[in-house]
């Protein structure tokens, strides 16, 4: 059985003289939530448009559910639900009518799925209200409902929480986690709200200037982003003993340069420094360190970009 839902091989897209995507090798494992991180114009939407068949690659290949032939790709896209660059809706229709269009399109028998899906995204009470009178948040939810119709195995969501209020964000996050954990749906989600992605994604891809800079799991990212106290003293061995004895922890690392990374007690730096000085150690450097996703991303793409 294929372990990957999606794999791209040297996928490139050129518009006029500009490379929108350059030799992207991305892979998304079945059952994962893949957070695609990138600035505006980094190539996220281009990549999604190529995967969903809205645009064609200049070079390279796409493999979806193990299929890479063009005809087979069209067929397996039936197993995908999408929101691409915002929800695409018929404004003069109601929420139910919008879903009816997609129910017919996907050939889903019976209309029960419409009410069920509307309830899933909290739009069951919209009645005869036309979509043109919906708030942005309601439109996002309806876009998600359309993507969920027909029980897709793979969801591709481009900025799905844009315009949602804080409660809406929490609800949609909960829903996506539920879909992933209970139904095993693989999700590719692109967002510029990195703190949100951090709460959701199991894997990350960082894209910049059309290039996929890095793919890493949440575990790997957490290791890279882990907070710690950077301690440099005159006697690192004694400091290690003091920490072990005084704080009853081995959650630290003595680095080759003699500095210590203390991963515990990060929120109690005063206690730590007091314990070290009480033992007669001279503190040369002492500071909390580590990165959050935002800092990691900014550093990875080469600092803050001004545009």
């Amino acid at each position: 059985m294929n372990e990957y839902v999606l794999r791209t091989n040297n996928l490139s897209k050129k518009y006029h003289n500009k490379m929108a995507l350059n030799k992207v090798n991305l892979s998304i494992k079945k059952g994962s939530i893949y957070g695609l991180i990138g600035q505006n114009g980094a190539g996220k939407s281009t990549l999604i448009r190529l995967i969903t068949g809205l645009a064609y690659p200049t070079t390279g290949t796409i493999e979806l559910f193990g299929k890479s032939n063009e005809r087979e790709l069209v067929e397996v896209r039936k197993r995908i639900g999408t929101i691409i660059e915002g929800p695409a809706l018929y404004p003069h229709m109601t929420a139910s009518e919008n879903l009816e269009v997609h129910r017919l399109l996907k050939g889903i028998p019976g209309k029960e799925c419409i009410e069920k899906t509307l309830a899933l995204v909290g739009l069951q009470d919209t009645g005869k209200k036309k979509v043109k009178n919906f708030s942005l948040g309601m439109k996002q939810r309806l876009g998600l409902a359309i993507a969920l119709l027909g029980d897709p195995e793979f969801l591709i969501l481009d900025e799905p929480i844009n315009g949602l209020d804080p409660m809406g964000v929490v609800e949609i996050r909960g829903l996506l986690k539920k879909l992933n954990q209970e139904y095993g749906i693989t999700i590719l989600i692109s967002s510029h709200i990195l703190s949100e992605l951090h709460l959701l994604a199991t894997h990350y891809g960082i894209i910049h200037n059309g290039e996929l800079l890095e793919q890493l799991s949440a575990k790997e990212l957490n290791e890279k982003c882990q907070q710690y106290l950077h301690i440099k003293v005159d006697n690192p061995n004694k400091a290690a003993t003091v920490i072990e004895r005084h704080f009853a922890t081995q959650d630290f690392e003595v680095m080759p340069d003699g500095s210590i990374k203390l991963f515990a007690y990060v929120d109690l730096p005063g206690e730590v420094s007091k314990a070290l000085t009480n033992e007669g150690l001279v503190i040369e450097q002492f500071m909390p360190m580590g990165e959050d996703l935002e800092t990691y991303f900014t550093n990875r793409i080469g600092g803050v970009q001004h545009g």
Partner: protein
């Protein structure tokens, strides 16, 4: 293909421009003969059935209503791009060619409905108002109904192609109204200047559609008539349909 057709049919039934055009034409078909008969009252005899059908029903249909599907094309086809809904359709796991032909087929049906309202309803209404005194000859009536259907589909395939190119309802409607409003005169001018184009232009749907009004004057149809009035509209539908589907297949959807 069945799912796509059902989807497009559902969308046509929900399309407001389609209903506005249809209801406007129904109202016109019912009220206009009343107004005309009021004018003839006490002045002269009512025109004959064929004259009324030819002079009022068909000529209004041919000169004005023929352009109405351009409005439907803008809202039913081009607006799918501006609303972004074409992205959902194109990524739904259906081939582009099937998507295009489903859209074209249902749009053609919509155009045919619009173009048949006056010939059927206005004729019916005027017949009722006159006590069935101004009925056209059945042969003439059915010949025109058949030809209007064929020509509506042929024009629809051209409109669908340009709607896919323009991808914006406003631009598509403006272009199509201008194009269909002027193409006859332009081709006439061209055929007068370039003699070898004259037979092609004469047989094109842009010129031959006007002859539907006098189709009863062809006593016995010869090969050339069949070619002009039957084969050319069908070929036009197929050629522009295939061309449109090819453009849509290659098109990147934004």
């Amino acid at each position: 293909m069945g799912n796509l057709m059902k989807t497009e049919w559902y969308k046509l039934r929900k399309d407001r421009s389609f209903w506005v055009l249809t209801l406007f034409l129904i109202a016109f078909a019912v009220l206009y003969p009343l107004d005309q008969m009021r004018l003839f009252e006490g002045v002269s005899n009512l025109p004959s059935g064929n004259d009324f059908y030819r002079g009022y029903v068909l000529s209004i249909n041919d000169q004005i209503v023929r352009l109405f599907p351009a409005i439907l094309a803008g809202f039913f086809i081009a607006s799918e791009y501006s609303m972004g809904t074409m992205k959902n359709i194109a990524s739904s796991g259906n081939s582009r060619i099937r998507i295009y032909f489903a859209k074209l087929t249902v749009f053609s049906i919509g155009s045919i409905i619009i173009l048949l309202i006056l010939p059927i309803l206005m004729t019916g209404a005027s017949a009722i108002y006159s006590g069935f005194n101004i009925m056209p000859e059945w042969t003439f009536f059915f010949q025109t109904i058949g030809l209007i259907t064929l020509y509506a589909a042929a024009f629809a395939s051209i409109m669908a192609l340009f709607s896919v190119i323009f991808t914006d309802s406003g631009k598509a409607i403006a272009f199509l109204l201008l194009f269909f409003g002027l193409i006859g005169s332009l081709l006439e001018f061209l055929s007068a200047k370039v003699s070898f184009l004259e037979p092609i232009i004469t047989h094109s749907i842009f010129m031959s559609h006007e002859s539907i009004l006098t189709i009863d004057q062809i006593g016995h149809w010869n090969g050339d008539d069949v070619l002009t009035f039957i084969v050319v509209p069908i070929l036009t539908f197929l050629v522009f349909g295939i061309l449109g589907s090819f453009i849509f297949r290659k098109k990147e959807i934004k």
